[in-house]
């Protein structure tokens, strides 16, 4: 080809070739694009799950088939064949009927059309008539027209109905002919019902059981490009409008696609399936539609956190529970930590953190034991003293009142205790502040010693003796020290151990909620090395004198009892601790500390002059005050001069939502870069992030060490992770109704005062029973308390407890609560049982009929209530361990409806109670000759009516002592 002649530059061949090649590459790239879009993790999982489901269904089907009675099936088959044959013999008749039906239906159709048309005309005529009436125009004609059409309508309708009857009759005949057949069919399908359901399922999901068309469709519908038409594999999505994702400028509805892979999570039967298909372990609580958290209303990430929109393993924000799991995931799922998304999934061990954002009002979250434990530890360790936590706003200081410390302690003890409480008590709740990993160097130790001296001096110089109210007789001498042996017995029986333990040596016990109840108060060891006898005696007599806000109740001990217990407690001493030396005060260091504090606001020289102007004692007090402020002692203790000091720690209200980059990991690289890894490390060693850092002493981390066990760390971290900013609409939050809120308000006080140390409330607590040994001699289970007792009785009882069970040595103490708090507690019980009425008239006892019958039922021969119960002070005849409350107390105390409920079935209310179900005669029981001689006449009349008889028994009980 002559390029020049053609006025061309490139040879056409060349251009065509390049065009061909580039087009092929282009096509290839486009195909690759579709491929890239098509291959997704979740599709693989959906295919796998389908296979799993097929296998499972097949097994179920096989099992179902073997279960079917084959002889019965054979019989039914034979029956059906017979019916079929019979029907075939009547085929001619059937065919004739069919023909007649078609004919009749043709007529019917015609008639009904005629009727319908007429109806339409008539409705229009009615409108015309109405218009005519309104306009007073042509009424007569319109009326005539309407009437005529109405008349026609009547005829046409009759006509239609007539044909309808004919059709119905004919059809009935056909049905009659086939009834035997239908019956046989029905019986057969009833027998095969469960199997045919499974078969139907298989015919939908199992290619082997599909029709050819469906099998082709099954292949075609999920092909690339085609897969928008009718895909079987598709992303599953749950949208929850009232739980929101925070996108800073606004919030958006939560969208969870987790079920695109976790396909069996809401279906029972996949408990043993491999992940991601496994059934949720607590289906009755979560996901099931009958559970309190149905999947379509709560989704997954509402609780578990993570990125719900993610459709791949990593992009969903999965987080491994352990480094081993992380390695496994990397291998298996190519997992990597999700970047640029703060709200990653809680690792398995912290799942319960998700409960808190909705259930924040509950002091103990049912089913969330770890979370509840974490919260309880936070309360007990008083984290909220230093760290602002909205949850605990308004809570009082948790440590002892130091305003009267001189009454209680010696300086010596105070120094050693402050230096490290654990040297005195191995499980002290007070944390260790000093000589931690970042302050163990000699210079720091030198400073610490001086500071502790100064703090002790401050505390003892500001303390004043406790002032006892007028007329309160309290001992101030040592003469009252009683019998230690008796004291030991008393301490064990009167109820001290509901809140305190006495464990001289560390015991290996897992920290649980129950254990926390037992450790509500301090471990009562070494008191002989700590307190003065007078103080202890007075404290036992009335703790509120020394600390008006103490949660230690008054056990109403007699002077002798108090003296005995004092004697017993003082026998426990910590010799090693006593022998530890207190280092002398390093005056130079003290001055240096003082100067350094002052130099912060002044020149070094001026600071020095200021210090020199102080007396030695003033210097001590000055440094003591600064140190108390620095370490935040006032957060837990009431210390004169610090009544309104502000907390010194970081606020923790939304700690779970804190971005990870706001957490200083320092040079600690061996832990994962997540908030929970940081919390774990921090709680295990609060000073760890100072490692390899160079800081002046007063800039070092100063959070004290609580010596948490790994279990405790995990629990606290769970709670911390749960403290998040929530975007949950009020209607989705738990406990938004008044009743629940009232219940929980009281429950919070109950928890705070450890009622559950002695009583079982909401099925939890009452550990003291294990020490007393016999549940019947232990404080009562408070199940149904709200329905059980009258509010005003309960109020007066709580204010001033009276003895209900004389056989119990354990005592209901007097709590220094105010009326508002008591009301909260009483309402809590009432609302929990759905009996919120406050003022109720006492039950009006029907004296004429009820009481004699009831008395008869209670009599020695029948019920023999007097065997266990005191009856108006009369001692029971039975074993003292079985004694039960005086029946005379009942009328003012127990609600009448509850009484009947209780008598009907005591076990259901108090599991393990020794109260038997009273004998209630039935109709047959009184139906014998001479029954009148044995039973009262009124009883015979009532026999069979359990309710009425129970009421008579109640009325009798109410009448006792009145």
């Amino acid at each position: 080809m002559d390029l020049k002649k053609e006025e061309r530059y490139y040879h056409p061949d060349q251009l065509h070739r390049w065009f061909g090649i580039s087009s092929i590459i282009f096509l290839g790239a486009l195909v690759a694009m579709f491929g890239d879009d098509y291959i997704r993790e979740w599709k693989t999982y959906q295919r796998e799950f389908r296979q799993l489901d097929i296998d499972k269904t097949r097994i179920e089907l096989e099992a179902g088939q073997t279960k079917i009675d084959s002889t019965l099936l054979g019989e039914l088959d034979a029956k059906r064949r017979a019916a079929e044959a019979a029907l075939a013999r009547q085929q001619v008749q059937l065919d004739q009927l069919e023909v007649r039906i078609v004919e009749a239906e043709g007529e019917l159709h015609w008639a009904s059309m005629r009727n319908q048309e007429n109806n339409a005309e008539r409705d229009a005529a009615r409108y015309q008539l109405e218009q005519a009436l309104a306009n007073r125009d042509n009424v007569k004609k319109a009326q005539q027209n309407f009437d005529q059409l109405t008349d026609h309508g009547r005829i046409y309708k009759g006509n239609e109905e007539q044909f309808q009857t004919v059709v119905d009759q004919l059809k009935q005949e056909v049905t009659n002919l086939g009834s035997a057949m239908k019956e046989a069919e029905d019986e057969r399908s009833a027998l095969l019902k469960s199997v045919s359901l499974l078969e139907r399922k298989l015919s939908i999901i199992d290619p082997e059981n599909m029709t050819l068309g469906n099998r082709i469709a099954d292949r075609v519908r999920d092909l690339p490009v085609m897969d928008f038409l009718a895909p079987s594999i598709k992303i599953q999505q749950i949208i929850i409008d009232d739980i929101r994702d925070d996108v800073i400028f606004t919030t958006v509805p939560k969208v969870d696609r987790c079920t695109s892979c976790h396909l069996g999570v809401d279906k029972a039967g996949f408990e043993d399936a491999p992940q991601p298909f496994r059934t949720h372990p607590r289906l009755e609580m979560f996901l099931a539609s009958s559970s309190p958290h149905p999947m379509e209303e709560f989704g997954c990430t509402s609780c578990h956190a993570g990125r719900g929109r993610g459709t791949s393993f990593s992009s969903a924000g999965h987080m491994p529970a352990t480094p081993e799991q992380a390695r496994e995931w990397k291998e298996k799922y190519d997992w990597e930590e999700l970047h640029h998304w703060d709200e990653k999934m809680f690792p398995a061990q912290y799942s319960e953190a998700g409960c808190l954002k909705c259930h924040y009002l509950e002091p103990i979250i049912k089913g969330g034991d770890k979370l509840s434990l974490g919260l309880t530890i936070i309360e007990k360790a008083a984290c909220f003293g230093c760290h602002e936590l909205e949850r605990y706003a308004g809570w009082r200081r948790r440590g002892p009142n130091l305003a009267h410390v001189t009454d209680k302690l010696k300086k010596d003890f105070a120094f050693k205790w402050i230096r490290n409480p654990r040297t005195f008590r191995h499980n002290a709740w007070m944390p260790s502040f000093f000589a931690q990993t970042n302050t163990a160097d000699p210079a720091s130790i030198r400073r610490i010693n001086a500071e502790i001296h100064a703090m002790v001096q401050y505390l003892f110089s500001k303390a004043t003796p406790a002032v006892f109210p007028e007329g309160v007789h309290l001992d101030t001498g040592e003469s009252r020290v009683g019998d230690a042996a008796r004291g030991k017995e008393l301490a064990a029986s009167v109820g001290c151990l509901g809140c305190h333990v006495m464990e001289p040596e560390p015991v290996i016990v897992e920290t649980t909620l129950d254990r926390m109840n037992q450790r509500h108060g301090p471990n009562l060891i070494g008191l002989g090395s700590k307190v003065t006898p007078q103080w202890l005696f007075n404290w036992l007599k009335d703790p509120s004198v020394h600390n008006p806000y103490t949660r230690m109740p008054n056990l109403r001990l007699s002077d002798q009892e108090a003296a005995d217990i004092t004697a017993f407690l003082l026998t426990m001493r910590n010799r090693e601790f006593e022998q530890t030396e207190v280092p002398p005060l390093d005056v130079e260091e003290l001055d240096n500390i003082a100067i350094r504090w002052l130099a912060k606001q002044n020149t070094e020289e001026a600071a020095r002059q200021q210090v020199e102007a102080m007396s030695p004692d003033e210097r001590l007090v000055f440094v003591g005050q600064k140190s108390i402020l620095f370490y935040g002692c006032f957060s837990c203790h009431n210390i004169p001069g610090f009544e309104s000091a502000k907390p010194i720690g970081t606020p923790l209200t939304f700690e779970g939502s804190k971005p990870v980059h706001n957490l200083d990991f320092g040079s600690i690289h061996e832990i994962g870069h997540t908030n929970y890894n940081w919390f774990e490390a921090k709680l295990a060693n609060p000073r760890i992030f100072d490692r390899d850092k160079v800081k002046p002493y007063d800039e070092k981390l100063r959070m004290p060490n609580f010596n948490f066990t790994p279990t405790e760390v995990e629990a606290v971290v769970t709670a911390l992770l749960g403290m998040v900013k929530t975007d949950v609409r009020p209607e989705k939050l738990a406990n938004q109704d008044l009743a629940s809120q009232l219940v929980l308000k009281g429950r919070a006080i109950i928890k705070n005062h450890n009622c559950q140390g002695c009583h079982i409330i909401d099925g939890q607590g009452g550990q003291i029973a294990s020490i007393i040994g016999d549940p019947n001699l232990s404080p009562p289970n408070l199940n149904t308390e709200g329905a059980k007792v009258y509010a005003d009785w309960l109020y007066s009882f709580l204010k001033d407890p009276t003895i209900i069970r004389p056989n119990l040595t354990v005592r209901m103490p007097t709590f220094a609560l105010n009326d508002l708090q008591w009301n909260d507690i009483i309402k809590s019980f009432q609302y929990a049982d759905g009996t919120p009425a406050t003022f109720v008239d006492l039950h009006d006892v029907d004296g004429s009929v009820g009481i004699p019958v009831g008395e008869f039922l209670a009599s020695k021969e029948i019920g023999d209530c007097g065997k266990c119960h005191l009856i108006a002070g009369a001692k029971p005849t039975g074993n003292i361990a079985d004694w039960a409350p005086d029946l005379a107390l009942s009328r003012d105390r127990l609600r009448s409806e509850w009484m009947v409920r209780w008598l009907r079935d005591p076990e259901s209310i108090m599991p393990g109670t020794r109260m038997p179900q009273p004998y209630i005669p039935s109709k047959e029981d009184v139906d014998f000759d001479g029954a009148e001689d044995f039973f009262p006449k009124a009883l015979i009349e009532l026999a069979g009516d359990t309710q009425a008889l129970l009421e008579t028994l109640r009325d009798y009980v109410y009448s006792v002592g009145n």
Partner: protein, 263 residues
């Protein structure tokens, strides 16, 4: 010469290099300048330099084509301005429109846009009417008539997509009624004849969420998705297409021998 001074200043400006660099011809006074004024201006260049006399007679042209284009420009400008205040979401669309009449300065832009759109529909129809009545679709202008029909259809579709955006009862129901026709599209709509033939086994391929109406609405009913799709079509998609066809239309007017007229 002193009395001529002001005039010479004007001329000085029109002869300055800056002026000349922008308007190459100067003030079109001479015949040559008048020709060059058209030739050298990218916008006026749509026109030929010379025309038969009837082409400047309004009685012949009615100026409807020009007005249609002008209305398109008005709608583009006012539309772009409206976009600054309008968010196509179910939360905000309605209230944003309300604010246009209540607080946005010169929110009358919305009226201009709406009435301009109606006027454009009418102008396009009348333009077509005129072209038919003068037989201007006849050779060699057949193809340009075809393009014109497409432009008319696009104009209607543009107007239709804009109708939904105020997100009031008028809008949603007009679009519901209008878009429901799409679901009866033969084969492509799930309630259209033939759609049920597109099935394999028991699986229908054309369903409520895979038919042509769904593609238009981005959902199974007129909702959030429809609002957004109509917005995008109204503001970007259709204007883009209509501009391409307009360019072809104008180009072909010139290439097919300019405005029609008796031979």
């Amino acid at each position: 010469m002193a009395e001529k001074k002001p005039k010479s200043r004007l001329t000085a400006i029109s002869e300055s290099p800056v002026w000349k660099s922008i308007f190459r011809t100067g003030i079109p006074v001479t015949r040559r300048q008048r020709m060059m004024g058209i030739l050298n201006n990218v916008f006026l260049h749509l026109h030929p330099v010379r025309l038969p006399k009837h082409a400047v007679k309004l009685k012949y042209t009615w100026c409807m084509g020009g007005l249609s284009f002008f209305l398109f420009l008005v709608l583009t400008i006012s539309g772009i301005l409206l976009m600054f205040y309008y968010r196509p979401t179910v939360e905000y669309a309605y209230t944003d429109i309300m604010d246009l009449s209540e607080q946005v300065p010169l929110g009358i832009m919305r009226e201009l846009h709406r009435w301009g759109a109606h006027a454009m529909v009418i102008a396009v129809w009348l333009h077509m009417f005129r072209v038919f009545m003068t037989g201007s679709y006849k050779p060699p202008r057949e193809f340009n008539w075809v393009v014109g029909v497409l432009l008319m259809f696009l104009t209607l579709f543009l107007s239709f997509t804009g109708y939904l955006l105020p997100w009031d009862q008028l809008a949603i129901w007009a679009i519901t009624v209008g878009s429901n026709m799409a679901r009866a599209t033969p084969f492509l709509g799930h309630e259209g004849p033939g759609a049920s033939l597109l099935a394999i086994g028991d699986i229908n391929l054309v369903t409520m969420s895979s038919d042509v109406r769904f593609a238009l609405l981005g959902g199974r009913f007129v909702g959030e998705g429809a609002l957004l799709r109509f917005y995008v079509l109204h503001c970007i998609g259709l204007p883009f297409i209509i501009m391409i066809f307009m360019a072809v239309h104008f180009w072909r007017v010139r290439k097919d021998g300019g405005i029609s007229g008796p031979v």
